[in-house]
């Protein structure tokens, strides 16, 4: 409860009026409300706020995307793309949810870790067979 686990331990906040250039490498949670030019590596959870922007790759266990991402996202466990998000790049994830109104341009590859995958509806099963391409 008090953030002993790396998954819930908030490590870094990049505020709304901040521009950060470089790669963030952390074991905890990263929240980005400003602009990040670079990437995030090895994080437990990446949260991108509604106003957040990332130019670069994201490598994480879980990700919640609310802002604009230009780059590839690799989320080993879970990826959530919120309604007003823009993702320009490829996605690698085991569990994916994209809300209505989101923009996604790129390839989506579901990861092979089937044991962790919960049965999803047929739409996603069909995605697995042919890579999903959504055009805005």
């Amino acid at each position: 409860m008090f953030g002993k686990k790396a998954e819930t331990k908030l490590e870094t906040i990049i505020g709304p009026d901040t521009l950060c250039q470089g790669t963030i490498r952390t074991k905890g949670v990263v929240r980005i409300d400003g602009k990040l030019e670079g990437g995030v590596l090895e994080a437990a959870n990446v949260i991108v706020g509604d106003e957040g922007q990332i130019q670069g790759d994201i490598n994480t266990k879980k990700a919640i995307i609310g802002g604009t991402i230009t780059g590839n996202i690799t989320a080993t466990e879970n990826l959530e793309i919120m309604g007003n998000a823009q993702v320009l790049g490829d996605i690698h994830t085991a569990l994916l949810s994209i809300a209505e109104g989101a923009v996604f341009e790129g390839h989506c590859v579901m990861m092979a870790d089937k044991s962790k995958v919960i049965d999803m509806d047929t739409e996603i099963n069909s995605i697995r067979q042919t890579p999903l391409i959504i055009q805005s």
């Binding site: 929240r31 949260i47 706020g49 957040g52 919120m82």
Partner: protein
Amino acid sequence: MSVLKKCHKTLRRYLTIIFVPHTSTKTVRFTFTISFLLFLFILWSGVTIWAGYVTGRHFEYWKVKLDREAIRFKLLFFADQVRKSQELLEQVKERDLQLRALLEMKTKKEIITREADEGRGGPGPKDQLYLEKLLEKKVDELAIHDLRWQSQSVHKETVDRLESISQIQNYISYQSGLYKATPNTWPAEGRITSPFGFRKHPLTGRTEFHSGLDIANEKGTEIHSTADGVVEFTGWTFGYGRLIIINHSFGYQTYYSHAQKILVKEGEKVKRGQLIALMGDSGTTTGVHVHYEVRYKGKSLNPYGFLDRDNFFKRGERYVWKKSRN
């Protein structure tokens, strides 16, 4: 001064509290000076304490309410108990009257008047009203003066009974004392040679009043006290010879005269049947005998009536009461 300055500086410093949701929604941040935070903290503490106090008072209110309920039940219970004790006291009263009848104390005027006073029985209208209220559990309608009246009547009744009982006790102790003090045996074995009353004096030949009873036997026959008492006098008197007077209280005195030898001293306490003297012929006498006298308040009575223990009971109440009245 520097400490104050430092303090002031510290208080003017800013502090930010950010709420970061683990979703994409916006973070919320508050920035205060430490002094404001301190003020907030104090305010919060104050409010908490006040709330605690108010809640405590509320709690007190509930407690009082509960207590009131408990007291109500207690009151009901005690009202019931008072009633029960009243009933019991009624029984005690009955027993008391029976006891009085048994002791035949009715002859006493005071008791006759008392009985007439207590003759009224049965529950009065107040009693019945009280009972009805109790049965309906309308304890709130039981006015204080009702309860007071009830408890007072119990109290009064108890006092009356106690008084009555102490009267009975006094009567019994009086009677038992009287019994112990009343001569009721023969002072010595022998035959009656001269009874109580007018007779011709054996020596002078004149007719005169014989104030005692003469019991004759051999010299040295034991003379016993006929009741409990204190030896009032021992010694030689003209006519009586060696005389013993025993004071039994309750107005009774017994005289034993013409003794050969006196075996008790003045002031000695004697029991009924205790050996006090040996029969002889001292004083004015024609032979060996004991002149036995029973005096009640200085007046000689016929000792013949005090020889048998049954006489005490045969004498009856009137005799005893008439005497005790004076």
